[in-house]
Each structure stands twice: as structure tokens, then as C-alpha cells.
């Protein structure tokens, strides 16, 4: 699947396109981890606005990044999910540990604000 990375300050924004399933998840994990390392960003925003399908593989991708960043004080935020995607993430209790925002801009503002 395609991804576009943007950087705002200390935040990497991963904009995902298309269908996120178990087949795609491996590549998504690798690409995000490499981008985090290459750009040295501490925080991560998942922008799901262009995701047309996601199954439970997305839970693993998000939790995996959270577990990597959290011990070093990094934050993860999720932005702009469809109702079905939000339902799936809710089943795993993701939103009790990771903040959700309606837009990527709000998520970025929240994370960049946290650094100050």
C-alpha cells in the first residue's frame, strides 16, 4: 500500500492510502520504522483519512509503534478514521492509551503543543 510521510517539527505524519490488511501490514511497519529512524522524529501521527479498508492487522501496526515510541517518551496519535475502523480499534481498547483526533491537523497541533 502507498504511504506519504510528512514531518512537522518532531512529529512524523504517516498518511496511509488504500487497504490495510495482514498482507500490507508488514511493509507498513517497516516503512514507518525506517522513516522514524531516518528523520529522527519522536512522535507519530497515523492519518487514516485515505484508508478505504482496515482489518485487525491495523491494531498490531498501531500498538507495535506505540510500544516502540512510548518507552522513549514519544507519543502516538490517530486521526480521521471511518466509523468501521474506529469500531475495530475500539474493540482492542486502543483509545484508552492513544489519543484520537478528527483531523491530522488537530493531532499535529496536539503533539507539537506537547513539546513546548
Amino acid at each position: 500500500m502507498d504511504m506519504i510521510f510528512n514531518i512537522k517539527g518532531n512529529v512524523l505524519i504517516a498518511e496511509l492510502f488504500g487497504e490495510l490488511d495482514h498482507h500490507a501490514a508488514g511493509q507498513v511497519r517497516t516503512d514507518i520504522d525506517q522513516a522514524m529512524e531516518a528523520y529522527g522524529t519522536a512522535n507519530l501521527v497515523f492519518d487514516f483519512s485515505k484508508i478505504t479498508f482496515m482489518d485487525s492487522s491495523g491494531i498490531g501496526v498501531i500498538l507495535g509503534r506505540y510500544r516502540k515510541l512510548e518507552p522513549e517518551g514519544g507519543k502516538v496519535a490517530i486521526a480521521s478514521c471511518s466509523l468501521t475502523v474506529r469500531n475495530i480499534l475500539n474493540m482492542a481498547g486502543i483509545f484508552s492509551i492513544i489519543d484520537y483526533f478528527d483531523t491530522a491537523e488537530e493531532a499535529i497541533a496536539y503533539l507539537t503543543g506537547k513539546e513546548e
Binding site: 487497504e19 490488511d21 511497519r29 482489518d55 485487525s56 498490531g60 507495535g64 471511518s82 474493540m91 482492542a92
Partner: protein, 147 residues
């Protein structure tokens, strides 16, 4: 239970086919005029069942097929059966627990069965170690109106 319009498909058990499995489910169910939400839920449940069959049914280098069977159960239910002839499940109840995973570092969430249960109306899992697993799901569609 009277089943109509039966469709049977055999696919190679590889994750590359996961998208195709979803698309086939969507094409079949589209004939029944589902809502967008119903269609998404069915695609998601099929995606979970298919990836379970590939990843857990045929672990490691094991090769095999995944069999999908679709049927309309009168008047407005769709039955989807996904079968593998792989290693089977030792403890079905444990496998279906939320967050249970045999994951050894691949970041799997253990939520596959929970998603299938949430997005369909009935789910039944039949499995025998060494023989394989069949997941049968029934989804009721709200789209058949009596005028």
C-alpha cells in the same frame, strides 16, 4: 436452513490473495443489495477468516488451499464458510478469546475472532488438530423490505 445460490471457491493459501478474497465476498453480497456498512463488515470478517486460515492454518512453509463457500439463506441472510485443511486448532475457546495470539514477535493483535464475532450475527468454528478448520459465519442483511 435452505441455502440458495451457492458459490464455492478454492484459493491458494497465500496472504497475497487476501484482497481478492474480500473482493469476491463483496461481489457476491452486492447481489443482495446490502448497505455500505454491511458490505464493509462482511469484507472485514472475510479478511480476518482468510488471514487466519493462511497464517495459522498453514504455519511456516506449509502450503495448501483456502476454500470459501457463499450461500444465501432465505430471505436475507448470507452464509460464508471459510475452510482450511491445515493444522487445526487445539483449543477453540482459547483461540477465540480477545487478545489471545500465538504471535511470536510479528505484532498480531489477537483480535481476529472478536472482529468476526462483532461484524456478523452468528459464528461457528469447527476444528480438529491435523485436519483443519472451518469458520462459518451468518450475516443478516437489513435490506429486504416487505412493501
Amino acid at each position: 436452513m435452505i441455502m440458495e445460490k451457492i458459490l464455492k471457491i478454492q484459493m491458494d493459501a497465500v496472504l497475497e490473495n487476501q484482497g481478492l478474497a474480500r473482493a469476491l465476498a463483496a461481489a457476491y453480497v452486492s447481489e443482495m443489495d446490502p448497505t455500505v456498512d454491511e458490505l464493509t463488515e462482511i469484507k472485514t470478517a472475510v479478511s480476518e477468516a482468510f488471514s487466519n486460515a493462511v497464517i495459522h492454518g498453514y504455519p511456516g512453509d506449509m502450503q495448501g488451499s483456502v476454500y470459501m463457500e457463499f450461500a444465501v439463506v432465505s430471505p436475507a441472510n448470507v452464509m460464508i464458510k471459510i475452510t482450511d485443511h491445515g493444522v487445526g486448532i487445539e483449543d477453540i475457546a482459547k483461540a477465540m478469546e480477545p487478545l489471545f495470539t500465538t504471535d511470536t514477535g510479528d505484532e498480531r493483535s489477537g483480535m481476529g475472532f472478536t472482529v468476526m464475532e462483532s461484524f456478523t450475527d452468528r459464528i461457528k468454528v469447527d476444528s480438529r488438530p491435523g485436519e483443519g478448520t472451518t469458520v462459518t459465519m451468518i450475516k443478516k442483511l437489513d435490506t429486504y423490505y416487505d412493501f
